[in-house]
């Protein structure tokens, strides 16, 4: 760690200590919630009400405002997990382990949402619930990767080892994601199925784009809120008899 200036490293260690982090999360929460609503409400209004219907797909395209941001988030969170995993492995930082494992269910949730909304969007477009289209297939594989992370963490009893295992797995996964993605894309163009790539870009108009971006940022803020909540739980679970938890209990009582 010698290449990091001492004050910065000290700052990180202080912030990363469980009681500090716990208090910080509490302090941030109202601001994040306000920001989330400030993004979500105009995003939804713009997407569901203001934006005109698509000339080809009618109103069904409005699923895009959750499908695409959810798909972005599913990838973004996996990359975040790998970054946390790297930090946890190199600096043995407990907070990074906690953030990693707290992110997994949220990422899996977004992946699930992307799959279900993709299927619900596909039904009126393709006439069937499922098509082996490149994006849906990649998303499905990503869901398996998330499930691998959560079930490996659950299976290893010693939670410090489990966190190390999951850090390694997240890093291996993130190296493989582009390979999987391109192989699936390539496979998809090879076996031209009944793919209708209407789902890709319905020549997006600015009035459609703004709500999409608002929703995308809103989902990112949601992730911050949800991961902080999950991390608070995980921190207490990790060391239920630590002094700071005792102080917390007394403070509550």
């Amino acid at each position: 760690m010698s290449f990091i200036p001492a004050p910065i490293s000290r700052f990180f260690h202080r912030t990363a200590s469980p009681p500090h982090f716990y208090a910080l999360a509490d302090k941030l929460m109202p601001w994040l919630t306000a920001l989330f609503l400030l993004l979500l409400i105009p995003g939804l209004y713009g997407g569901l009400v203001m934006a005109p219907a698509d000339y080809q797909q009618g109103d069904s395209y409005r699923i895009i405002y959750i499908h695409v941001p959810a798909a972005w988030m599913s990838l973004f969170i996996y990359v975040m997990m790998a970054v946390m995993g790297g930090i946890a492995l190199v600096w043995r930082m407990k907070l990074a382990e906690v953030m990693l494992i707290s992110s997994a269910p949220i990422g899996a949730g977004f992946t699930f949402v992307a799959l279900v909304t993709g299927s619900l969007w596909g039904k009126p477009m393709w006439g069937t619930w499922w098509v082996w289209d490149a994006r849906l297939t990649s998303e499905l594989i990503l869901l398996f990767l998330y499930l691998g992370v959560t079930s490996l963490y659950g299976a290893i009893e010693d939670k410090r080892s489990a966190a190390r295992a999951v850090s390694i797995l997240a890093l291996v996964g993130v190296v493989n994601i582009p390979i999987i993605h391109y192989s699936v894309e390539w496979w998809n163009t090879l076996h031209q199925g009944p793919t209708v790539s209407k789902m890709d870009k319905p020549s997006i108009h600015i009035s459609m784009l703004i709500p999409l971006l608002l929703m995308a940022v809103a989902f990112k803020v949601y992730y911050a809120i949800a991961v902080l909540q999950a991390a608070k739980l995980e921190l207490i679970r990790r060391e239920p008899s630590a002094q700071w938890v005792k102080n917390l209990l007394e403070h509550k009582a």
Binding site: S60, I63, G109, V113, T117, V245, L249
Partner: protein
Amino acid sequence: MNLESFFAMGGYAFYVWTSYGITTAVLLWNLFAPIVLRKQLLRQLTLKQKRTQ
């Protein structure tokens, strides 16, 4: 723009609203499950602490 046509979604109501519904459910679950579990855990720990004192 009236409410009825807003909810009808040009005939795609089922697909659009099911999508938004499921998304809301999943996001709420991931947000509130840890909060509820943490409250439970803190309650358990308080009880345990009282017992040992």
